[in-house]
């Protein structure tokens, strides 16, 4: 199993009626790598993640994730693939407000049975992330930092091969940010997951195996001066 975690070739993407956002000749991320992705606001980082997660369709070129050509997956198969193999953490507001912490964490496994099968012990993951005591609480009662750890627990449970985090620390203060990152790394190592981490905060970059600047490998943005 030596297929890279992410392999992009000649990928071009634009939103329905907008300018070209992405034009990426080549991008490879190998398995187990911890990658730090940065770029100015509006440069297309979230868009790229949407392509990798199989949420955005309508691109040209080829997007392979964990050896799977995303274009070959149709509809629900793509959702199932995402649900099973990818963990995703948003910048903030990661949680379904009307579910408890436990329900939020276990939701991917319940939506995708394949993921559910791999899912380990919720309590163990929660313990490692220091939220074990919060499991039965409603998520709206949590602090932002706690919410982000719940989001991490959800993304990590079931040991997804690829963990995508879109500015997961931007709402956290310095201390929380450091601890959050450590926990993320620790857990990725445990499940041998690949980590693609998007952030504006370059001070974090040093902790990663590799730093990627989107503008360096995205030709689309170069023609357009940043606003």
């Amino acid at each position: 199993m030596s297929a890279p975690a992410v392999l992009l070739r000649d990928v071009r993407f634009r939103y329905r009626s907008g300018p070209e956002i992405l034009d990426i000749p080549e991008l490879t991320i190998v398995r187990g790598e911890r990658v730090f992705l940065f770029g100015p606001s509006g440069s297309g980082k979230t868009t790229l993640l949407g392509l990798l997660a199989g949420v955005l369709a309508g691109y040209t070129g080829s997007v392979e994730v964990l050896g799977q050509d995303m274009a070959k997956l149709r509809g629900s198969a793509r959702d199932a693939f995402r649900g099973t193999h990818i963990g995703y953490i948003f910048q903030q507001f990661n949680l379904i407000p009307y579910l408890t912490v436990r329900e939020n964490i276990t939701l991917p496994g319940r939506l995708q049975p394949a993921r559910g099968k791999q899912a380990g012990d919720v309590t163990a993951v929660a313990q490692r992330l220091g939220i074990a005591s919060l499991l039965e609480r409603g998520v709206t009662e949590l602090s932002v930092g706690q919410q982000q750890r719940v989001a991490a627990a959800r993304a990590l449970l079931g040991g997804p091969e690829l963990l995508i985090a879109d500015e997961p620390t931007s709402a956290l203060d310095f201390d929380h940010r450091e601890r959050f990152l450590e926990l993320l790394f620790e857990n990725c190592a445990l499940t041998n997951s690949t980590l693609l981490f998007v952030s504006h905060d370059r001070s974090l970059a040093g902790k990663f195996d590799r730093q990627l600047s989107l503008v360096d490998f995205n030709r689309a943005q170069r023609q357009e001066p940043a606003a």
């Binding site: 629900s76 995703y88 990661n94 579910l99």
Partner: protein, 424 residues
């Protein structure tokens, strides 16, 4: 599916206020719809059960509707009477269980006066098996005793022992002085309990009473001065009943009914006809039942408004829920599941609305049944939904589910447009 159902449930619970308001509005319109249906059924039943256990109504030959109208509803008049001998003949027929004779044609201040016998109080049944009961007093014992229907007593404020005068003819409300049987006043001997049938709107005297007030009349004209027979000279034994207007008849067995009807209709001695009340009542209901349809149209609009309210509340909630949808997508819920979630939500709302509606109408009809019966003479049954009621429930549920596709479609479009970028 189970996951989505629990998600839908929890999401609805999370928006408790809008959810309950929506459920309430659907429930209310559902209750209204079912209520109207119940009233409709009640009206039809009350109507069909204006008289019960009567197998045949017999009168002089003529229109069958006319016979029903004057015998049961006290509307219109008979063109011909039948002879007392003929009545006796059928009364004593071996297939006949009982009869109730009616002699019509007089009135009191707009209310019909009915000459009848003790059989009336014994045998008359309405609403399946209810019988006449007295609020006060008892059936007429003497020729000049009168029993009042409850509406008559209430409208004219009569009590036991009051003396009243009946008038010849049934011209509504007009007491033509010439036509008064003023020389022969009647005494109120009894007042019937309310039956919510036309029985309430008549006065009842003995057949002999009818004969008595007409004893000195000749050819429908009042007696000449000097020829009046004073009431004091009249005794029941001396009164001869020569004719009646119609009579109700109960057969000993149901099977005998048709046979007897044929016999009466072909009776050689006198031109008579017998009708089966149920059949004619149905005919009549069909002609006046159009009011039902009008009611129904109104309630269907009420339901539409209720469902529209649900659509609006689900639709407007979507903007607040774009984030939630993006999260669901990110963790592996496809567009199909997003759609299913919203359709389930509206389905649950509609279901809850239906349940609330049924419970409400049960409670309301239970609570208000006596009042409605008292005030409107309408017996509204407390019963599980009628077939039509079930149809409404099913339709509303289905409509609720279908309507769910509108916000579902919108949510689907949102998720496609938003991708994984979260809009607040």
């Amino acid at each position: 599916m189970i996951v989505l159902l629990s998600l839908a449930w929890k999401s609805l619970r999370n928006r408790l206020l809008t959810t309950s308001l929506t459920v309430l509005s659907i429930g209310l319109s559902m209750a209204l719809l079912l209520g109207v249906e119940n009233v409709r059924v009640g009206a039809r039943e009350s109507f069909a059960n204006t008289i019960s256990q009567t197998d045949l109504i017999v009168g002089a030959r003529g229109g069958s509707l006319q016979l029903l109208l004057y015998s049961v509803f006290r509307i219109g008049q008979a063109t011909n009477n039948i002879s007392y001998e003929s009545y006796q003949h059928w009364k004593n027929h071996p297939a006949v269980a009982w009869t109730i004779p009616y002699s019509l044609g007089d009135s009191h201040r707009g209310f019909r006066v009915v000459g009848t016998t003790e059989d009336f109080y014994q045998h008359l049944r309405f609403r399946r098996d209810r019988r006449l009961e007295f609020d006060a007093g008892r059936s007429p014992q003497g020729v000049f005793d009168v029993v009042l229907g409850s509406d008559v007593a209430a409208a004219l404020n009569y009590k036991l022992g009051d003396k009243i005068v009946i008038s010849h003819g049934v011209a509504a409300g007009r007491g033509i002085a010439d036509n008064d049987h003023a020389d022969k006043p009647f005494t109120v001997s009894g007042i019937l309990k309310k039956t919510a049938t036309p029985v309430d709107r008549s006065l009842y005297i003995q057949l002999e009473g009818i004969s008595a007030v007409h004893i000195d009349w000749a050819d429908g004209a009042p007696p000449m001065p000097g020829e009046e027979v004073p009431a004091s000279k009249i005794a029941k034994e001396n009164m001869k009943v020569e004719q009646i207007t119609s009579f109700l008849l109960r057969c000993k067995t149901r099977i005998a009914t048709l046979q007897l009807q044929r016999e009466i209709n072909t009776y050689k001695e006198e031109a008579m006809q017998a009708i089966i009340p149920g059949v004619t009542l149905q005919e009549l209901w069909r002609t006046i039942g159009y009011a039902e349809d009008a009611l129904q149209v109104v309630t269907i609009f009420v339901i539409l408004v209720g469902l529209l309210g649900m659509l609006v509340s689900l639709y407007t909630s979507l903007n607040e829920r774009r984030r939630e949808m993006a999260i669901l997508r990110a963790i592996g819920a496809g567009p199909g599941k997003i759609i299913a979630l919203l359709v389930l939500e509206s389905g649950l709302l509609a279901l809850a609305g239906c349940v609330v509606g049924v419970v409400m109408i049960y409670g309301l009809s239970f609570a208000f049944q006596p009042v409605i019966e008292q005030q409107f003479g309408l017996y509204v049954p407390v019963q599980p939904p009628t077939p039509a009621g079930w149809l409404y429930l099913g339709t509303v549920l289905l409509a609720g589910i279908l309507i769910g596709f509108v916000p579902a479609w919108k949510a689907y479009r949102n998720t496609l447009a938003d991708g994984l970028s979260i809009r607040v």
